[in-house]
Symmetry: C2
């Protein structure tokens, strides 16, 4: 059954995903001769770089998310629908969604990435991912529930598992998350849990490769390691995780770790839509595209952002899965779609690397911008400034700023609420994010 959408004389661009890339593209097509249809399974945009602060009680979920409808307020050529795309039917230029079939003239896949468990079903079932707001809130609940449970647990092994927090993956997310848990341990636990022997709280950061922050400069890598070590995080480099059954984390050639909280930030993969079987999926589950973001094998299907890999001589592995790359690709694709409409020649995508940064804790961050590298307090303020500026929405900027100022002076983290009670037995229900209600309205 076709989804009814307002009619338009212009070609229809369907964008799947309201992340950085999708939003940039849609906004750049404002007042242009296209009908833009934006689809997302949520009604909001998620500012993923700050999810870890939601998960560790530093920020409220609502301050790092922004209603998608509000982003496109006043954009007359845009239609937004909350839905999940179930399949692409490229032969017929249409999408199947859970609210009906949608035809397109141009399809843009901007679905981003999801946690990559590298095929390990046991880890996938038991470790905590942190790629969406509901997942971050579940993790926050789990951390707090485990603190509460540790107080009443008599068995020493079980108690130890409840107080061992393991972060797997030493990229920016893993570094930031383990640092944030270390700050919870230092500043919040002694106040909140005076009965707890907080020397028993252990934070492990496990990374397969010899260094943390693989993409950054050696200076940044070393400094991040020093910062984390000072904060009490136990860094385990060159350590391979074999399995996790919800209680015991098994490692290659090393003793297992008992833990009730394993946070998985060891990798991501593109969220490829079903039905695109002709497309080449390259390393990291990304769709291979040409330098115009056209998916290889298709005429009118594009991919941008984390789900796309522009494979070229200069970029044999595509571009990094970061917000600036997605935004630049969205911007660039908008220009090219307009070029197509105006029969102008297409331009090749050029990535402008804005650098990379990671925060470790209070007054501690590392920044690489081209050849410029700095760490410490100034890096931390730079990190905060850049994130505040990138955050969508003026209200959100203020709320996040207030929270940061508050935390800075009080050493506190304000949002320690268990509002989505996390229960592993019901994880499927709890993690399900798609509006699943099928209501029959009886007419009397």
């Amino acid at each position: 059954m076709d989804l009814q959408l307002p009619k338009s004389e212009y070609p229809r661009v369907v964008i799947v995903g309201g992340g950085f890339g999708g939003i940039e593209l849609a906004k750049r097509l404002k007042n242009k001769p296209f009908q833009v249809v934006m689809l997302d399974k949520h009604n909001y945009h998620t500012f993923q770089p700050l999810l870890y602060q939601v998960a560790t009680g530093g920020l409220e979920a609502d301050s790092i998310a922004f209603p998608l409808r509000k982003i496109f307020k006043g954009q007359k050529n845009l239609i937004f629908r909350v839905t999940k795309v179930t399949e692409v039917n490229a032969a017929e230029n249409c999408l199947q969604t859970d609210i009906g079939r949608i035809n397109y003239d141009y399809l843009v896949i901007a679905t981003g990435s999801t946690s990559n468990f590298f095929g390990n079903k046991e880890i996938e079932a038991n470790a905590m991912p942190m790629k969406s707001i509901p997942e971050a809130l579940d993790l926050r609940s789990l951390i707090l529930q485990n603190f509460e449970k540790s107080l009443i647990e008599k068995d020493v092994h079980k108690k130890s598992a409840l107080l061992n927090f393991v972060v797997v993956g030493g990229g920016p997310t893993g570094v930031e998350t383990s640092g944030a848990i270390a700050e919870l341990k230092k500043h919040v636990i002694p106040n909140d849990y005076p009965e707890m022997d907080f020397s028993k709280v252990n934070i492990y950061l496990i990374e397969n490769s010899p260094e943390l922050l693989g993409v950054m400069s050696p200076q940044a890598q070393k400094k991040a390691k020093d910062f984390l070590t000072d904060m009490g995080v136990q860094i385990m480099n060159e350590t391979r995780v074999l399995g996790y059954d919800g209680h015991t984390l098994t490692l290659q050639d090393k003793a297992p770790i008992l833990s009730s909280t394993v946070i998985w930030s060891a990798g991501v993969k593109g969220q490829v839509l079903a039905g695109l079987d002709k497309a080449e999926v390259v390393r990291g589950g990304r769709l291979k595209t040409d330098t115009q973001n056209l998916v290889v094998g298709y005429q009118n299907v594009y991919a941008i952002g984390d789900v796309a890999a522009i494979i070229d001589e200069e970029t044999p592995n595509g571009h990094p899965g970061v917000a600036p790359a997605a935004i630049q690709q969205g911007h660039h694709l908008a220009k090219n779609l307009i070029n197509i409409k105006e029969n102008k020649p297409l331009e090749k995508f050029k990535y402008f690397d804005k650098g990379s940064m990671a925060t470790v804790g209070r007054n501690k961050a590392v920044v690489d911008i081209g050849k410029i590298r700095f760490q410490g307090v100034f890096a931390w303020f730079t990190w905060m400034f850049v994130h505040l500026m990138t955050l969508v929405g003026f209200r959100n900027k203020i709320i996040v700023f207030v929270n940061w100022v508050w935390s800075y002076f009080s050493y506190d983290r304000g949002t320690r609420l268990i509002i989505r009670t996390f229960a592993k037995d019901r994880s499927v229900d709890y993690r399900d994010e798609v509006p699943a209600v099928k209501e029959e309205v009886k007419v009397s």
Copy 2:
């Protein structure tokens, strides 16, 4: 099995419930010769008067809740546990909880109230209550999901049901909620849903009795009615709700209303604990107490706040179920417990009525303070000031203030996120608020 708690030479006061009354009592016992054990099923205190703003996208959940552990920071004679009390065994001076048995010398029931469906199971299963953070977030999600669904619904009856919002109960909560939905309709829908014919959005406020705000002055009642009518709320006084199957609201002697969103604010009842079968439960499901808040029939079991009814010649129906009454009873009981310890005579509780107020919308509120009655802009600022001052936590005050200032100037409501996808089929799982995980930690 007994719950292990730190030993103490002092008598143990167990307080069940971290609402206004329980917190006040616990704080007043700081540095006094008692061991205070506070139990709550949540790890946070909920500021119930602002739940309706969470449900209608005006405030984030985290800004009206406050971690209970933080409230009692530094109070050495207090132990807090997240748990659900399953039964009172007064003969043995102990409580059964889902984390073990707890003995008490004095038991204080401060469990507050819950929605009263007056025995109608059909309404209970289908209408939306709004007495806790998870319920308010579920309601927010339902309202937003119904807006989204209305866009794709082709059947006119179903579409109409999705856009008919019914609030049952014309007390302060019902007045405030229907007013907030009317503001969503006026300021948010036209921007967010340009495709929607928002003249089809109807808001009904249904009340059994001839007036709204039964406890307030005739001036306040009339003005609230005028305000709501101006804002487009359809007020139906002297209307009795018979049933609601999730789709059709059946009324006595009136045509039924098709609605997918029925919000229940028609009454509350005390959350009486199981096992107190000797106690007299009076109207509204409250525990009958004497003027020292001692539950009738017991020697060392007290009740304060919404769950308590001090039945006396002067107060044949007890005191109103409002925050000031709970706080005053908590304060008073603390004094009496100390009096008992010091063998001093006990004092009788005297209620000081601080007045009542309700907000209807922007610049519109009604206030009664004794003989002083005013309505309109100044009443609205008074309402906001009083609520900001009563809100627990400095961070929360700032965040709520920022949100209100933001909404005032932007006519916007910032937190329109569907973060707890609401599905009626799974309502039991989703509404369950008790930490339900029973994990077995395998020791390798």
